[in-house]
Amino acid sequence: MVEAGQPVVQARGIVKVFGQHRALDGVDFAVHPGEVHALLGENGAGKSTLIKILTGAYQPDGGEVLLDGAPVRFSDPLDAQRHGIGTVYQEVNLLPNRSVAENLFLGHQPTRFGMVQRKVIEARARELLAGYGLEIDVRAELGSYSVAVQQIVAIARAVELSGKVLVLDEPTASLDRNEVAKMFEVVARLKARGLGIIFITHFLDQVFEIADRVTILRNGKLIGTKALADVTATDVVRMMLGKDLAFDHGGVGAAEAVQGPVRVEFQALGRAGKVAPFSLALHEGEVVGVAGLLGSGRTEMARLMFGVDAADGGAISVAGRRVSIRNPAQAVTAGFGFCPEDRKLDGIFGELSVRENIIIALQAKLGWFRALNRDEQNEIAGNYAEALDIRAADHEMPVKLLSGGNQQKVILARWLAIDPNFLILDEPTRGIDVGAHAEIVRTINRLREEGLALLVISSELDEVVAYSNRIVVMRDRAMVAELSGADIAPSVIVAAIADNTGAQA
């Protein structure tokens, strides 16, 4: 591990503001030559914003980027690449239908008299890839190789073009165990060559395997930079998830609340490659919290429950009766509601009015011919807007003009309007202002008291602890623990999430 000397690339006091939202707030970050530096954080923590600033895709609103100690301002990623910073993304953005050699030298082919020298390119490509321990036919189409090989080709190209800093943005997300090992060999070689490597992932075990230091961001703020030799997986998870962690005096009040009969039951529901089969029963008046890191299978579990993805096997019953849920329409008919994590993509109808956004699920449930008339729509929209304190000047305004918190409340109102049996909330408080945040937590508690069964996925541990009767922990696409009673505490959850992470691969 190299700590001494000058960082090859450094960010100082970076601030980036999008509208009202501070995506990055005074973040410091430095990578030394010959170092693998992991960058961790949940969705919305600011990882990708920071990377985009380092690679010139965004300009910072405050602070500065230094390259070899000198302040720089990259106009775009190509400019950053010319200065030595190359990036490889999870999705390989090369040309699958051209040869490996062409992909390596595209845009800077060695030419003689304006003609591309195919033989020269191929020889140099072979030589280059041999340096990465890759002996393949460079004349074959890139697309004919596995994703891992394509990733390594992308890395080779990025290093060839830049050569000082390599940003690996979730390079292992679609690789299997052997491929990850191969990728890590390549990373180790590059590290030995003195490159500064920034490694973004949400696999903790991989961080401990390959990285020297880790920087953790949360909600746009720097939480800390640590040498991995000095920390445990539990420390890292705590830094990623904890708020101003007043550990171990979580609100256990909810856990002791009286539960009614079983409302919905999922038995051995699963889908190959997404989530291992899991079983879970939710009672009336119960909130089950779901904890787990990004990519742990928490969202995938919710999608199976709601029929967004079809399950391979398993059964679902509502109040003791078997139901078939193979698409969301059937889930809605069964009285399920789902507030998705990505509000903009899967939640709101931006151009439609607040009123229409609220009544749409009920209307879908009623069908084409039992149309709610305008008075009924106004009444429903008005009632729920008032109950949830939705701040809109007018219920006829397009919902896209509302703040994130109010949009989230509109989606919540949409599901309350169908009088649901069971409600799934995926990160209901992410990216919304403090006031709306409190309102949503209050609403969750109120719905529980009214006898609804809720499943709430959240990375805010303090919050999950405060309103959950039970907590299930997801790790590596499987449900690994179920906590109740006194176990509902941030420290126990963190331990369950971090458990064995070193042993997994």
Binding site: F306, V308, N327, P328, A329, A331, V332, T333, F338, P340, L345, D346, G347, I348, F349, G350, E351, L352, E356, I360, A361, Q363, A364, K365, L366, G367, W368, F369, R370, A371, L372, R374, R414
Partner: protein, 332 residues
């Protein structure tokens, strides 16, 4: 059009454009607004605009629903040719007019269903999916007519294209009835809202429990039905089925009518009546250029100029700027 907004609706640029085109027509040809009663039906240039505009207006009614779902149907012109060919061949073969009409409409529905299946279940992009039938459809129509123009003298089919009801030419009656019925259906049932929801955000529609597949199937089928109706009118008008030329390029006029009417190609909010207004603007321009004595080649150039003007006026930025100017003038 939404409740209580009639006055605001009449201030829309489309109505101003229609009025302007009609005014120019009147300046070029002072007798433009004259309407006479001859042989038990209305005659006059304005009636002619409505009558000639009816086929595109009918196509535009179906096209509006398709475009509202973020789709497009390029095949409607070809479907017109197929429907006309089917009706003509059946009546010349001795079938009754009723059977011929029903068969033509059924074929239109089948064509629409085909498009809908390609778009919904095979998830082919609408522009490509309907391009298939746009190209193949004319071939099909020619196979039906065996390559010749099939003329007929069946009074019922001819009546559809040239007859009149209470003095109003049949194409106008059919277009008006279709426009009113379609508008009532989408606005009195939940179909309108659900179609808009699917067009605005298909993923969110899925999460909200809307079965978008059935809706898409329905709108493409309806577009096919409208195209067949239009095809019957055109065939009745020329008393024959011309597989090569019936409905040629009319899909583009229909798309244009919808866009002029204010429905975005990105899907979402739609208005069937405004699309009909769009079709009338297009036809009023065509008629104006014809009666003014300019050569028809002018038609395309003038048309594109007017269209650009209408689209610019509709752009949110321009609308905002105009509103600001207007408010400033009031406050002075």
């Amino acid at each position: 059009m939404r409740r209580g907004n009639w006055r605001a609706a009449l201030l829309r640029p489309q109505f101003a454009a229609l009025a302007a085109v009609l005014l120019i027509n009147w300046l070029l040809f002072p007798g433009f607004f004259d309407i006479t009663w001859q042989e038990g039906r209305l005659f006059g240039s304005v009636i002619d605009v409505l009558n000639r505009g009816a086929p595109v207006a009918i196509l535009a009614i179906g096209m509006t629903a398709v475009i509202a779902t973020k789709g497009v149907d390029l095949s409607v012109g070809a479907v017109m040719a197929i429907a006309g060919a089917v009706a003509a061949v059946l009546v010349t073969g001795g079938a009754s007019a009723l059977v011929a009409v029903a068969a033509a409409l059924a074929v239109g529905v089948l064509c629409g269903l085909w498009n809908g299946v390609l778009v919904t279940y095979l998830e082919i992009q609408p522009i490509i999916a309907t391009l298939v039938l746009m190209v193949a459809g004319r071939g099909l129509a020619q196979l039906v007519t065996e390559g010749s123009i099939v003329t007929f003298s069946d009074p019922v089919l001819i009546f559809i294209g040239t007859g009149s009801l209470l003095g109003v030419p049949m194409p106008i009656v059919i277009a008006a009835v279709l426009a009113i019925v379609a508008t009532l259906i989408v606005r009195k049932t939940a179909l309108g809202l659900l179609i808009e929801a699917v067009g605005v955000n298909r993923s969110a529609a899925r999460f909200a429990g809307i079965s978008s597949g059935l809706l898409l199937l329905l709108v493409y089928t309806f577009a096919g039905f409208c195209a067949a109706t239009s095809g019957l009118i055109v065939a009745g008008d020329i008393r024959g089925a011309d597989a090569n030329n019936a409905g040629l390029w009319l899909e583009l006029d229909a798309i244009l009518a919808v866009v002029i009417g204010g429905t975005s190609l990105l899907g979402g909010r739609f208005s069937i009546p405004m699309s009909v207004v769009g079709a009338l603007i297009i036809q009023a321009m065509n008629t104006g250029i014809l009666i003014s004595g300019f050569s028809p080649e002018f038609n395309l150039v003038v048309k594109s100029g007017v269209i650009i003007l209408i689209l610019v006026l509709q752009a949110p930025m321009v609308a905002q700027a105009l509103r600001k100017r207007f408010m400033e003038r009031i406050s002075q």
